[in-house]
Amino acid sequence: MTHSVLIVEDDDSIVEALNFLMETAGFDVRIAREGPRAIELVKEAVPDVMILDVMLPGCDGFEVARNIRSHQLTKHIPILMLTAKNRPIDQEKAHEIGVTAFMTKPFSTREVVEKVKGMLNS
């Protein structure tokens, strides 16, 4: 069975790398480059897992995650949050909202793939 992943990231190069990694790992990939677009895509079809950047145009990753956690149909989606800001407050906020996992950029691609697979299995 093919799993689906929604990558929410506004940086083209990082999207390119994540897209390759997820496709190679056998995922069906969709991409959103803005916060509001991510919420729309989740409503259209609930993904099995999400990779979510924090700093996004429109609304930030925290807003997206909060929105997803507040709806019955989407609250269960495992979310891997990525951020360039290595601030403890961001990790605390992510934890408060109920983000599944949190990684700081620059991340290891192997760890990203392992983490996403791990979130699906747990």
Binding site: D11, I14, D60, A84, R87, I89, K105, S108, T109, R110
Partner: protein
């Protein structure tokens, strides 16, 4: 008043310009030479007919002698004389009066020079604020991290997927080269930006150094918490009731042979307390309310029982002057007092259960609003954290005397906080709590809770100190605070867009803008 003080100098200067002696002018004006001498040395005040006679004898309009322009200049000069810049030069009011009387143009030039100096300083402050929180730097740093992320990703992909097709490999290699170029230019831009600010930052003030020490520790001092936990059972008589002032008095007497006395505030230089080591007496102001008295007494325990721990912390290289170290000691003794009165774990449990209803917490711990707010900001024990709060204390003139932020909110260091912050409007309804949802320049939404506190003077005629205390947190935590009840986080209209200070704020058409945005 100012005009009168200058009158003698003016009469003397004009008389000399006319080449008249004191005796001649005295004769013309119909007074004795001795009396004119007193007038010229500002030892007699004059007005009415004598003023008119003197003006006539000197052939000037009376207004030239009483001049309002000079009065304004003198007021300006007096303000200048009060600047710490001149603290070491013993510039007193008489010198200023003399300067204005003898050389008014020189006095004007001095005022102009001082204004230019103040303006340059304000500019430096604004710029150094911007270095700390500059949107360009934040963006540049984000850009650099993003570039490194993609380069690392491409490098790992190329290494881990050796079976990838030639075309794909070429594509990633090309992307990697492009990203490397972008990284180089982002790094260069960042360095150019930083170089342009070299030397802009002023020498730090003691209060700033103490602020930095608190930030380094996340406003949580484990050593002091542990000491407070160890000592509390020896101080309090009943753990169910907490630490009373009577408990502390009795502990200080028994353990340290310290006597506590209540003293008239004027004898304590309006301080809340003074410690006399020689007589082992702690004098607490009669003007201090019970909550403040207990706090001062608890600080005494810190001085005696937490001395070594406080000294260890005050030896931080962050603190570069004796003044800064002394200020840090006071702050840390205050921290200990808070830790003693509000036991970490049970306090955290209580505030969580009460959804941070500060008034109820005040009642439970017989504490002041400010003490409770301050303690809330220290609940940062790793693994047992409370909500990451920010805290600001401002007086009615906007001077910031306390600031701390664990919430991520940037707080101006030097004052001039955006007028839209509830910390200002709280002064309009003293004692009432004002809740506000704001969108800050970092695009995060925060919950602000502000109210004023009044520190009473000793008597009816004594001036009272009024402060506004702002406590807040990221709106993510809003549900855990009673103060967010009724605020609509989902409705953009109920969220106020705010800046930090006018000089750092991009918000256009703001009807409260006081200063232009400083372009860099």
């Amino acid at each position: 008043m100012a005009g009168r003080a200058l009158l003698g100098h003016r009469i003397r200067t004009i008389r000399k310009d006319l080449g008249k002696t004191q005796a001649e002018l005295a004769a013309d004006a119909g007074v004795s030479a001795a009396y004119l001498n007193l007038i010229e040395h500002n030892r007699r005040t004059i007005g009415g007919a004598l003023l008119l006679r003197l003006a006539e004898a000197l052939k000037v309009p009376p207004a030239d002698l009483t001049g309002s322009e000079e009065a304004r200049l003198l007021a300006d000069l007096e303000e200048i004389g009060g600047d710490p810049l001149f603290a070491k030069t013993n510039l007193d009011k008489q010198d200023l009066t003399k300067t204005l009387g003898v050389a008014p143009t020189m006095a004007s030039a001095m005022v102009a020079l001082y204004r230019a100096y103040r303006s340059a300083n304000e500019q430096i402050d604004a710029l150094s604020e911007r270095i700390s929180y500059d949107p360009f730097l934040a963006h540049a740093a984000h850009d650099v991290v993003s570039r490194i992320t993609s380069i690392r990703s491409f490098a790992e992909i190329l290494h881990d997927h050796s079976d990838m097709g030639h075309e794909q490999r070429e594509k990633f290699t090309k992307s990697m080269a492009e990203e490397s170029e972008r990284l180089s230019s982002a790094a260069s831009e960042m360095f150019s930006f930083l170089n342009s600010f070299e030397g802009a930052r002023q020498t730090m003030l003691p209060a700033d150094e103490v602020d930095d020490l608190l930030y380094d520790h996340g406003n949580y001092f484990d050593g002091l918490e542990k000491l407070a936990d160890e000592l509390r059972p020896k101080v309090e008589t009943d753990p169910d009731h907490g630490v009373f002032l009577a408990d502390i008095i009795s502990y200080l007497k028994k353990k340290h042979n310290v006597e506590l006395h209540r003293e008239n505030p004027e004898k304590l230089d309006q301080k809340n307390s003074i410690w006399d080591e020689e007589t082992r007496s702690l004098y607490i102001s009669k003007a201090a309310p019970l909550t403040a008295s207990r706090f001062e007494a608890a600080k005494m325990i810190s001085r005696l029982d937490a001395h070594d721990e406080v000294e260890k912390l005050a030896a931080s290289p962050r603190l570069t002057t004796d003044k800064a170290r002394q200020r840090a000691r006071e702050s840390l003794h205050g921290y200990f007092a808070g830790a003693l009165i509000f036991p970490y774990s049970s306090f955290l449990q209580t505030v969580t259960d009460l959804r941070h209803d500060i008034e109820m917490i005040q009642q439970l711990y017989a504490a002041s609003w400010e003490q409770v707010c301050h303690r809330l900001t220290t609940l940062r024990r790793p693994g047992e954290e409370g909500i990451p709060f920010h805290f600001v204390r401002s007086d009615i003139a906007g001077n910031i005397s306390k600031r701390f932020s664990a919430s991520g909110l940037q707080i101006p260091r030097y004052g001039g906080i955006c007028p839209r912050w509830a910390i200002h409007s709280a002064f309009l309804t003293p004692g009432n709590i004002k809740s506000q949802l704001v969108k800050a320049p970092d695009t995060s939404t925060y919950l602000f809770i502000a109210r004023t506190v009044t520190k009473l003077g000793a008597a009816f005629k004594d001036p009272r100190s009024i402060y506004s205390i702002l406590l807040g947190c990221d709106a993510t935590y809003a549900d855990r605070l009673v103060y967010a009840d009724g605020l609509d986080r989902e409705n953009a209209d109920s969220i106020t867009n705010v800046g930090l200070t006018c000089r750092q704020c991009h918000i256009e058409n703001c009807n409260q803008r006081a200063h232009d945005f400083v372009e860099t």
